[in-house]
Amino acid sequence: MEQVQEKQRTEEFDASEIEYVSYGGEHHLPLIMNLVDQELSEPYSIFTYRYFVYLWPQLSFIAFHKGKCVGTVVCKMGDHRDSKFRGYIAMLVVIKPYRGRGIATELVTRSIQVMMESGCKEVTLEAEVTNEGALALYGRLGFIRAKRLFRYYLNGVDAFRLKLLFPQPEELHPFLPTMADRDDTQNHDDHSPREEYSELHRHL
């Protein structure tokens, strides 16, 4: 899905003033929706939001500054092929004046923490190949570029499938991921059927 991370004019604040809250219920939903709607051009229906926050409320976080919602991360997790329990970061947004200060990193980190504790083996997401901010953020967190998805987004831009592999205690060489791990057997078409809905690939 989409990640927004460009640096522009900033708001003055101290990092300690940012409050991170786990998704708490229906009252948080319009905040998340407004944030994502205003920053992203793709339309997500209310069903989409509800799908994520109702099934995995513990994976979504909101950042507040003095009572104002300034950022959010929305995720899911579940069984994947080869019975790999995998986390997925669907949306990540921080409003422009608050970017470049580590809020997004903090949001993502909290979510990944919960995923790890819940038994996920890995975390994935898609990001535009031109989205340098997101690629740098996730790169710093240890995500690798597992695949390139041709013309994934409707404006014709390619995407990287980013993947973070959690070290598994039973592996002999946890620091040498094999090439097979990077590029697993998953097709992105198992998120949505290919034929008429290729445009929806953008959202997944």
Binding site: S45, R50, K147, F150
Partner: protein, 549 residues
């Protein structure tokens, strides 16, 4: 709902949609209101299998971002035509009519290029109302025949791409439901020759401008039909048409000066974004005309390529097709693989790649003439006498042939998809190796030295095994190298990738060397020249930052 309500005149202010034999429209607002009042916050009526896919494809009706029906100016093409969107003739003034005709031709070219680049046919080429109602243009000879050739060209291109179909890249491209692509059979008799338009001074300029555009269309259509001829028989002729196309494109470009300076009206767009040579907006186009058949995708405005960029696109396409046409259809797999790898470096677009794939694999044979078995025999450096050996019927050998076909098709796809698929087929190549090896051991025992002429089957299998090994390493090598082109590796990972490449290339060289020494020694290539060709790949790796292990 009260049935009687259906027969009362509609009280709502929405535009009335006439009832037909199969449909009657009724107002569902009251029902929805009741339902809304009844549902609590966050409550959703859904079935158990309402998953993410269902959520994603759900629309909020009347939300302009999601509902294709809400943004239309017109409910249908016919309504747009009634509103005067696509007049025939385009103008009563002959000069203006010609100018507009040329604008339409130019804009169609940009739409076509935009379509080729991966947007929907319905929103690009068929945003032209003239194309959507073919029978309307019959009184305007030029417009009518031009529309015909556009439809025929689109149909030919769609056929090529869907015949080459390997994966989802082609799906959006070939979606043409409900669009009038089949040509009508009527033929009009030739009309008397008359001047194009009334301004004598401008006649030559407009004739030239029109002529080059018509000629381009004709030659381009011939390129497509020539290239489709089986077994590459039409390639030489295709090259001639390609050359004509390119020359006509040059004349088209030059016509811009004349067209811009004589453009009708005052509003001109001389910027790089303009979609016509004259700078004028072409008449008769509306991208939302087909939004109903473009559903269920959300409404989306497409940026049509500029006129200059469209010409550049066609120049590149023709150039790529020309390279294909000049390829001598070498029966050597090694030469072919090198050609395909080189061809892909220019990042050809879908239409070019689809043509390549159809050229290489037709009817399960290479170029439609060489059976896979003969390809394998040559690749394994076995003497030609084995070309008719019975072992070609062996199930594993047949399967191996399929793997080669599959590999060739994959090598013609876009780099991103290609790499993923190459990674997956490595497994298949390994499995076939094991299967053939087991069969070899079962039939011929463990002995590694087989004397020539003694047991042909054993010799063939042994050679094939070595070649399968070599080919597997070749695939691995390509898989790794493509990662650089796709920017998958971060600098901190280069060491790891180089290490894998080193291992793979050493093995590849070993297998190639082994293949040479085991064969008759009649091969043209020595093992050293192979080593050098692999080393030739190294410079592009050295240009990145290397951390020395």
């Amino acid at each position: 709902m009260d049935r009687h309500a259906l027969h009362q005149p509609s009280s709502s202010s929405s535009s009335s949609i006439p009832a037909t034999a199969n449909t009657v429209w009724t107002d569902a607002s009251p029902l929805l209101e009741v339902a809304c009042k009844d549902l609590r916050d966050g409550e959703l009526i859904h079935v158990d299998n309402f998953n993410l896919y269902a959520a994603m494809s759900a629309l909020e009706i009347m939300d302009p971002k999601m509902d294709s029906g809400i943004v239309n100016r017109y409910c249908s093409v016919d309504e747009a035509i009634e509103d005067g969107v696509a007049p025939v003739p385009i103008s009563t003034d002959k000069t203006t009519d010609v100018q507009c005709m040329i604008d339409i031709m130019d804009h169609l070219l940009t739409c076509e290029a935009t379509w080729h680049k991966g947007h929907s046919l319905a929103q690009t080429v068929f945003s032209c109302a003239y194309l959507l109602r073919p029978e309307r243009t019959s009184s305007h000879a030029l417009l009518h025949s031009y529309c015909k050739v556009i439809r025929a060209t689109c149909k030919a291109v769609i056929t090529v791409v869907s015949d080459a179909r390997t994966h989802e890249e082609e799906d959006l491209f070939t979606m043409a439901y409900g669009l009038p692509l089949t040509p009508s059979s009527k033929r009009k008799p030739l009309e008397d020759i008359e001047p194009l338009q009334t301004n004598f001074d401008l006649e030559e300029g407009y004739c030239k401008a029109l002529l080059c555009r018509l000629r381009f269309r004709k030659h381009f259509f011939h390129v497509l039909t020539c290239m489709r001829r089986p077994q590459g028989r039409g390639l030489e002729l295709a090259r001639k048409h390609i050359a004509s196309c390119i020359s006509e494109l040059g004349v088209i470009l030059k016509s811009a000066e004349f067209l811009m300076s004589n453009a009708h009206g005052t509003c001109e767009d001389a910027t790089e974004d303009r979609t016509t040579a004259s700078g004028h907006q072409a008449i008769g186009f509306d991208a939302s005309l087909n939004s109903r058949i473009s559903a269920p995708t959300p409404p989306r405005s497409i940026k049509i390529l500029s006129w200059k960029k469209a010409i550049e696109y066609f120049e590149k396409l023709l150039h790529d097709l020309d390279i294909m046409c000049s390829y001598p259809l070498d029966p050597s797999l090694e030469v072919l693989l090198r050609f395909v790898a080189q061809f892909q470096k220019a990042q050809p677009d879908l239409v070019a790649r689809a043509h390549l794939q159809l050229l290489l694999v037709q009817d399960g044979k290479l170029y439609g003439k060489c059976p896979m078995f003969s390809l394998i025999i040559r690749a394994a450096r076995l003497p030609e006498v084995f070309l008719h050996h019975d072992i070609q019927k062996n199930e594993y050998v047949v399967q191996l042939g399929q793997l080669v076909i599959n590999m060739l098709k994959i090598l013609c796809t876009n780099a991103a998809w290609q790499r993923r698929k190459l990674g997956k087929i490595l497994q298949d190549w390994r499995v076939i190796y094991v299967q053939i090896e087991l069969a070899f051991r079962k039939d011929f025992g463990e002995g590694s030295s087989i004397s020539n002429g003694d047991n042909a089957s054993a010799r063939i299998l042994k050679h094939i095994l070595i070649w399968v090994d070599e080919q597997t390493y070749w695939i691995s090598h390509r898989f790794l190298i493509l990662g650089f082109e796709l920017e998958l590796y971060s600098p901190s990972e280069y060491c790891m990738v180089y290490w894998y490449l080193y291992v793979v290339l050493i093995r590849l060289a070993e297998k190639t060397h082994l293949k040479m020494t085991v064969s008759d020694g009649s091969g043209k290539y020595t093992s050293t020249s192979c080593m050098f060709s692999f080393q030739g790949q190294r410079p592009e790796l050295r240009s990145k930052n290397v951390c020395v292990v």
